[in-house]
């Protein structure tokens, strides 16, 4: 049955599915994991860094992109497959232009909700025109509005968006989300380090071989984006492991 209704994007199946959009969501599930946590004064975004080929310069593999001074986004992407990182590049370019256009017309930086709505509308347009395919990316968009409120939004290939306190996308997103649901506590994310630790712990659930394969970006209110260095990430990971050992010792005794 599905075979007859999945060739064209603009055709509904009899039970109400747009198969091309759902296939796009499947493509997203194959990408590397990204986790976002919204704290009280900080937003943290962690991405799984897939191991690069020996001769590849890993600085060119950037999955966390700045859209404007106050907003940035991450998307799970496949390095080996073609098409999806490229999709993200197009979306990011349009979003960057829209951020500046908004600054020019309205004389204020975009709110995170505005730019998320713009990206989602762009994605939705591509699900409703013939000859085009949907963008194969989900994105986590985070940052601060100009009144200082931190925000985290997630978009998907169908063009819907939702606000989250913490979320994950990409490979094993379900596992990570369940971990976050169990372990997200309001008191933890009041502090900057608590938010970062929660993000790293969530990512460690699915990333093999620990801190080396994690890329972490944080943004504090009124400060530009900061990408943590490998040493800083190692420090957080060792903190987490210490806490784990201590809690296990307590359980035993």
């Amino acid at each position: 049955m599905a075979a007859r209704y999945d060739r064209a994007i603009t055709v509904f199946s009899p039970d109400g599915h747009l198969f091309q959009v759902e296939y796009a969501q499947e493509a997203v599930k194959k990408g590397s994991t990204a986790v976002g946590v919204r704290g009280k004064n900080i937003v943290a975004l962690g991405v799984e860094k897939k191991s690069v080929a020996k001769l590849q310069d890993d600085r060119t593999v950037r999955k966390i992109c700045v859209l404007d001074d106050n907003v940035f986004m991450a998307f799970p992407c496949l390095i080996s497959r073609s098409g999806l990182t490229a999709d993200a590049r197009i979306v990011i370019n349009r979003a960057r232009v829209e951020c500046q256009s908004h600054r020019l017309t309205v004389e204020d930086p975009v709110t995170i909700e505005y730019i998320t709505r713009f990206i989602s509308s762009l994605k939705q347009k591509y699900t409703q025109s013939n000859g085009r395919r949907p963008f194969g990316i989900s994105a986590l968009i985070m940052g601060f509005d100009f009144d200082g409120t931190p925000r985290l939004y997630q978009t998907d290939p169908s063009g819907t968006y939702h606000a989250w306190k913490a979320n994950a996308i990409g490979r094993s997103a379900k596992t990570v989300r369940e971990f976050l649901e169990k372990n997200y506590k309001e008191e933890d994310v009041e502090s900057d380090s608590g938010t970062i630790k929660l993000g790293v712990r969530a990512l460690l659930e699915v990333v093999q071989s620990g801190g080396k394969n994690i890329e972490l970006a944080i943004m504090k209110r009124d400060e530009p984006l900061k990408i943590l260095s490998a040493e800083e990430i190692e420090a957080v990971v060792s903190d987490i492991e210490k806490e784990k050992e201590e809690s296990e010792k307590k359980k035993k005794s």
């Binding site: 256009s101 017309t105 309205v106 004389e107 709110t111 505005y114 713009f118 347009k125 025109s129 009144d147």
Partner: protein, 273 residues
């Protein structure tokens, strides 16, 4: 394209139709373009409104001068913004109406004044009011004064040189405090503490400048606005009628008064007559 060049078709037609970016991705509903990219009125190719207008003005032999016949003023002070306008509509030396409303109440926190061509002002400011309302519905918060004035000035820029005549002040109170912007038909947009527009503006400036202090009380500010318009209407033939005064406060504007200028002038100039 070679065929276009050979046939001479390319020189006259609107080449933007050919090979342009797919227009259905360019957001025709203006949701994200704030009415900037799509013009309200299509201007046909080949028509040059500015050349036509030049032929109608004094240099061209005919004498249709478009003056901003009115007096409006607005100034910021410690307790908000005062907006005062006259109410005469003139076409040439004929007084078309003595009680025109030259202030458009865009929303409870935003006012726009009108001077110049009545039709232009009313149309474009009502369009601005529509955009402000749409902004509020889409973004769940009121538009800022700087954004509203920017929208109006962008609309004017789109028709620059085509004979629009509009001098307007956008006043409001938003998150950044009281706001006052002057926008005119050239696309000029200025933020300031005190503006006066219309052909009676020099008289109004004289009175306002001599009486203005930042720490005026509310009653003193009302009196200053009243005097400035009254004296301007006294000397300027194209201003008159009643004074409509508004006070923009933190929780919205209030309409202060609507007073006939002739009675006011008799009150002020007791010694003169």
């Amino acid at each position: 394209m070679a065929l276009l060049d050979v046939s001479g078709f390319g020189a006259h037609s609107d080449l933007r139709l050919f090979g342009a970016a797919p227009k259905h991705f360019l957001d025709p509903q203006n949701h994200f373009t704030f009415s900037v990219k799509r013009q309200e009125f299509a201007v046909p190719v080949g028509v040059d409104p500015s050349a036509f207008l030049r032929s109608c003005s004094r240099e061209g032999g005919v004498s249709i001068d478009l003056n901003h016949g009115t007096t409006t003023l607005a100034f910021k002070f410690r307790h908000g913004v005062i907006v005062a306008v006259d109410s005469r509509a003139s076409s040439g030396s004929y007084i078309a109406s003595k009680d025109v409303n030259k202030v458009i109440e865009i929303n409870p926190y935003l006012l726009g004044t009108m001077s110049g061509c009545a039709a232009d002002c009313q149309y474009w400011e009502r369009l601005l009011a529509k955009e402000c309302r749409l902004y509020k519905l889409r973004n769940k918060e009121r538009i800022s004064v700087s954004a509203a004035s920017k929208l109006l000035s962008n609309m004017m820029c789109g028709y620059r040189g085509m004979g629009l005549s509009m001098g307007s002040m956008i006043c409001g109170w938003d998150k950044k405090g009281p706001g006052l912007y002057y926008v005119d038909e050239n696309g000029t947009r200025l933020s300031g503490r005190m503006f006066s527009t219309g052909c009676g503006n020099s008289y109004a400036y004289g009175v306002m400048d001599s009486g203005y202090r930042e720490d005026l009380t509310v009653e003193e500010a009302y009196e200053l606005g009243r005097r400035a318009i009254a004296h301007a209407t006294h000397r300027d033939a194209y201003s008159g009628g009643v004074i409509n005064m508004y006070h923009m406060q933190e929780d919205g504007w209030i309409k202060v008064c609507q007073e006939d200028v002739s009675e006011l002038i008799h009150k002020y100039r007791k010694g003169m007559f």
